[in-house]
Each structure stands twice: as structure tokens, then as C-alpha cells.
Amino acid sequence: MELKPGSRWKSAVCAAEVVVVRPAKTSVTLECGGQPMVALGTTVPEGAALAPELAAGVSAGKRYFDAESGLEVLGSKAGKGTLAVGGKPLALKEAKALPASD
């Protein structure tokens, strides 16, 4: 899976969608709810189910990252699964709120 910046991916097991903000420095597989995510616009494989222990959820507008590979994604649609790389859950990126300047 080529996780190019700006590329969009959807979960095979829930409604979650993400967009890649920062690519991984190494080749990694992005998963949601225990299953590899698929490129948005392609068919979701049938029969895949959400792993109950990987149901921490994805929020729209939150950023998630993998410190090891450098991969960072933005949740563009909320869902139930946990985002992970090679079975390791992504961390939520805490952003400090800035005062409106525009």
C-alpha cells in the first residue's frame, strides 16, 4: 500500500476514512479495526469484521501518528475501529488550540 500524502483510505470494517498527512519513512500497512484499509473508491473485501479489541474509534478532524515510521493521518470520517500500523495502534496527536487569526 502506497501511503502518499493526500491519499485517502477507508476502513474495511467500519465507516472510518482517513487522509495521509505525512507519509511513512518505511513501507507500512495501515489498518483499521484489525484489517488493512483500502484506497477510497475501491471495493471493500467482503467478510472482514471489526476485531472487538481494536474498536477504540476514529474521530473526524483528529490526527493520528506512528512515531516509528513517521506516518501521520487525519480522520476525515468517524468510525469504530482502531487505527494501527502492523498491529500497533496509532497515537492521537494532541494539538494545542490556537486563537483564531483569520
Binding site: 500524502p5 493526500g6 483564531a100 483569520d102
Partner: protein
């Protein structure tokens, strides 16, 4: 990431919430997305490769920006206040293009080669046409989101390139998605062709804050709209703020709903911001410093910074009211000397920035270094706590009331006057406009006809470009390589102004 996804996310999360108000019309996030897609579907079938916008602020502006994004065509808003010949020349540079033009401005632009003119009323019809509203958009992978023409030192505007990646990086790193309360509303009065006008749309939509448009700015209308629309947030350029305060002082409006007022786009005279803090004690003030080439804000002086500075007896803290605050956490900022060495706090040099939002690029010319650093061409220094003080452009562009004025253009006009032998034009600090235009003239016959020269400039350029301060000399200072030393004159006249 595409800017269109910002709107899709907002419409997906809060379809019914009001997104934009202009005139007496308000539309929801869902309707904004439907109109933008409809216009995008129409646009993708047109030959023009760029979507130009020549017109006043309004609901159509965000629709058009996102229509361009959906169709994969750069959006290029032009300055309708330019003289006809200048506007036509800019428009011709966008060919092949489609230009949305306010109906009453069409006459100015007819028969521009390679440009398909679309009256704004027709654009609105397309947005409401059921065929286009139901149309499927072809997937596209656009790169350039916005082209903004900025005045350079030579006077001929450069087209700054802002890619989707720069703008979305800026938005997602500075704004919390749907972080605004539903009642919040932002009053937008910066023109469509200003970077703040573009960023206001993107950050407003992503944050879920309703955008309220003033077609064009007058202080009375601004105060009236702020009260009537229960405006919670607004951004103004320094010149606007002074005039707004005059109206508030004269009529006693309290603007109880106003929570936050940000300002930027030029030097804010300390007397104005001190007056604002006193007149509007319930309002948070934010000073934002940024450039077109950096996708808007790169440093912020926040509300708490204002309060601390205002109430401090320590001069080093107090003077931060005149700073632009600290750099955003998502980017790096350095002060460097002309040889590129990084300078320590307290020393003045050129401001450099690096980060995902920094575009630093013009059409056909990359201005960013290979390592990602961008030289802003602004002079400034950092204090010990990291507050940035911006001293002005390194080159000599005059920023008067948020408008960039190129001295060379005015000098050219004056030099064409029969009595003028030599001339230097530059900006002087001005409490109302940030800077005002000054001219030092050497005449052939020793005459000192200020009024005649002012009328000469006014007839050929706009009144904002007519010098307000005049001085007459027997010669002008040049360096050994023949370069006019405007800075020397500027220092002398600034000192003379202080004495006076």
C-alpha cells in the same frame, strides 16, 4: 490533502449548520458543498484551466473557491480596484481561464483573449441548476489551489502559488475541526484577493464558524453588521481598526457578542491597539503575522500576551504589544544576517520560516530554498522570550492601509513630470495608515509645487498612491554602485517627523 476535503468533512459533520451569510442570504454547510460541486461539475467541462474571480465579497466567493478545488482548477481572485488597464493585463495572464465577474464589472473586461467571462449572476444560476447539482464529479488530483497576485518591488505583480498541501497543512495544524460553537460568526471584510480572505474561508469552514461577508468595508457598516449578526470573531487590517474605533467611540456601541478581534496585514500603531483594548475590554485581541507565500499566519500575539504586555511595568514585556508574538508551534522561524548566519535574540536581520504551510513559490519561480527555508524579505528580531518584532519589508514596498504600494511605480510617474529631475518615494510611519507615501524630489528649476505634483500623480495613479509628504532637495543620496539610498531619506524624514 485537497482543500475540498475540508468542506466535505464539515458538510459531513454539520450538514444543517449555517456556513456563510452574505447580504440577506445564509446557506448551510450542505448547501455550500452542493453549490460548489455543481459549479465544479460545470467548470470541469470548460476549456479554461484557471478559475478567476473578479468581484465583491459574498456567498459566491467560498462557493467559487471550492468549485475550483472540485474541478481541479486553481482559483485566482483579482483586485477589482486596479485601474482597468492593469486589471485587464492581469486577467490576460490567467489565460486560458474562466472568469467569474460581477455583472457591473463586465464592461471593464470584455474581449480579453483566452478568457471566458462568466457573469456572476450566471454563476449563481449554475449553482442552482438541478442538472449540475445532480452531476457526478470526476476524481481529480489537483496540485495548485490558489494563485494570488502580489505587488513586488518591480511593480508588476507576481503570482504566488499556494498548493492544496500548503493550505490544508495550515488549516489542520492551526484549527480544531468543528471546534466552534454553533452561535459563533466571523465577520470577513478583507477583500477576496488578499491571503487573509482565502484563509478566513478555509479555517472558518473547517472550524465550523459561520462566515459573514461585508461586500466591501466601511467602518459604519462593519459596526452595524457586527451588532446585527451577533459577530463573535473578526479580522481587520490596522487601518480598519482605527476607523472602527472612531465609530464605536462616536456612537457608543458595545458589541457584546464580540469575543475575539484579530489584526494583521501591516504595522499596527501602538496607540491604536491601546485604544482598542481600552474601548473593548471584553474582547480578546490577536495580532497575526503572515505572508501570502506562507499560507497566512506564521506568528501570533495572543489575547493573554496582550493583557500581560498592557499591564506590565517591565518595558521589555510592555513593548511586546508592538510585537507579532511567537511563531506557530507547527513551524520554524529564524533571524539571519545577509550572509545567512542565524542571529541571536536582540539582533535585527531577515525573517526566515520553514514548515509544511510555507509555499514560497511564484509561477515559474521557486523562492524557497532546497532545505525548505523561505526568506520573507521582512526585517525583524526576536526578544529573549521568542517574541518576534517585524520592522518592515527589507525592500521598500510601502504598505499603506494593507495595500502594498511599489515606490518604483510612483517614481516613474513623477519622473515623467517636466519639472522633475530626480525623485525617491518611500513609506513613512503613519498612525492611521501604518505607512504613508512620501516623496523627495529634485526639480530642474528649483520649484516646489507640491500641489501640482500631487495632482499629476493622482491623475495617473490612484489617490492612495499619491504622496502625502513632500520634500525638495538639490540632490539625492546614492551609493557607489548607483543605487538610490531610500533608507537614508526615510530615516531623515522619520526623525524630522518626530521632532515636528
Amino acid at each position: 490533502m485537497h482543500t475540498s476535503l475540508l468542506l466535505e468533512m464539515a458538510a459531513g459533520d454539520a450538514a444543517e449548520r449555517l456556513a456563510v451569510t452574505g447580504g440577506h442570504v445564509s446557506i448551510s454547510f450542505d448547501e455550500l458543498a452542493i453549490r460548489a460541486r455543481a459549479a465544479g461539475a460545470w467548470l470541469e467541462a470548460q476549456e479554461g484551466k484557471t478559475l478567476v474571480f473578479v468581484g465583491l465579497n459574498g456567498v459566491d466567493l467560498p462557493v467559487a473557491i471550492f468549485a475550483g478545488a472540485f474541478a481541479g482548477k486553481p482559483f485566482a481572485p483579482l483586485n477589482y480596484r486596479l485601474a482597468d488597464a492593469d486589471l485587464r493585463r492581469l486577467l490576460a495572464r490567467t489565460a486560458p481561464s474562466v472568469a467569474i465577474v460581477d455583472d457591473d464589472m463586465l464592461m471593464r473586461l470584455e474581449d480579453t483573449p483566452g478568457v471566458q467571462l462568466l457573469p456572476r449572476s450566471q454563476f449563481e444560476s449554475i449553482c442552482m441548476d438541478p442538472r449540475y447539482r445532480a452531476a457526478e464529479l470526476a476524481p481529480c488530483d489537483p496540485d495548485i489551489a490558489v494563485l494570488l497576485f502580489t505587488s513586488g518591488t518591480t511593480g508588476e505583480p507576481k503570482a504566488a502559488v499556494l498548493r492544496h498541501s500548503h493550505l490544508t497543512s495550515y488549516v489542520i495544524s492551526t484549527v480544531e475541526f468543528m471546534g466552534s460553537a454553533e452561535a459563533e460568526a466571523a465577520l470577513v471584510c478583507v477583500p477576496p484577493y488578499h491571503i487573509a480572505g482565502i484563509s478566513a474561508i478555509l479555517t472558518g469552514i473547517y472550524g465550523g464558524r459561520r462566515l459573514v461577508y461585508l461586500p466591501s468595508f466601511t467602518p459604519e457598516e462593519w459596526v452595524g453588521a457586527a451588532a446585527a449578526e451577533k459577530i463573535s470573531h473578526a479580522m481587520v487590517v490596522p487601518t480598519m481598526l482605527g476607523r472602527i474605533l472612531d465609530v464605536i467611540e462616536a456612537h457608543g456601541q458595545k458589541l457584546p457578542d464580540l469575543q475575539l478581534l484579530s489584526y494583521g496585514g501591516g504595522r499596527m500603531p501602538p496607540v491604536v491597539i491601546e485604544r482598542a483594548l481600552a474601548l473593548l475590554p471584553h474582547v480578546d485581541f490577536v495580532n497575526a503575522y503572515g505572508l501570502t507565500e506562507t499560507s497566512s499566519t506564521v506568528a501570533i500575539l495572543g489575547p493573554e500576551d496582550h493583557r500581560v504586555a498592557m499591564s506590565s511595568s517591565d518595558p521589555a514585556v510592555r513593548r511586546r504589544l508592538g510585537s507579532v508574538g511567537r511563531p506557530l508551534p507547527s513551524l520554524e522561524l529564524e533571524i539571519r544576517d545577509p550572509e545567512g548566519r542565524v542571529l541571536p535574540p536582540g539582533q535585527s536581520g531577515e525573517v526566515y520560516v520553514r514548515g509544511d504551510q510555507v509555499a514560497g513559490e511564484y509561477l515559474h519561480k521557486k523562492a524557497i530554498q532546497d532545505d525548505g527555508w523561505f526568506a520573507t524579505n521582512d526585517a525583524g528580531w526576536l526578544d529573549e522570550a521568542g517574541y518576534l518584532f517585524v520592522e518592515g519589508r527589507l525592500d521598500d514596498v510601502i504598505v499603506r492601509g494593507g495595500e502594498n504600494i511599489s515606490p518604483g511605480e510612483i517614481e516613474d510617474v513623477l519622473r515623467a513630470h517636466p519639472a522633475v529631475r530626480d525623485v525617491a518615494v518611500f513609506g513613512l510611519p503613519d498612525d492611521q495608515w501604518g505607512e504613508r507615501v512620501a516623496a523627495v524630489v529634485v526639480t530642474r528649476d528649483g520649484s516646489r509645487d507640491e500641489g501640482g505634483l500631487a495632482a499629476w500623480v493622482k491623475a495617473k495613479l490612484r489617490s492612495t498612491r499619491t504622496p502625502e509628504t513632500w520634500d525638495f532637495r538639490v540632490e539625492l543620496p546614492y551609493n557607489e554602485t548607483g543605487k538610490l539610498l531610500r533608507r537614508v531619506l526615510k530615516t531623515e524624514l522619520t526623525a524630522a517627523q518626530k521632532v515636528a
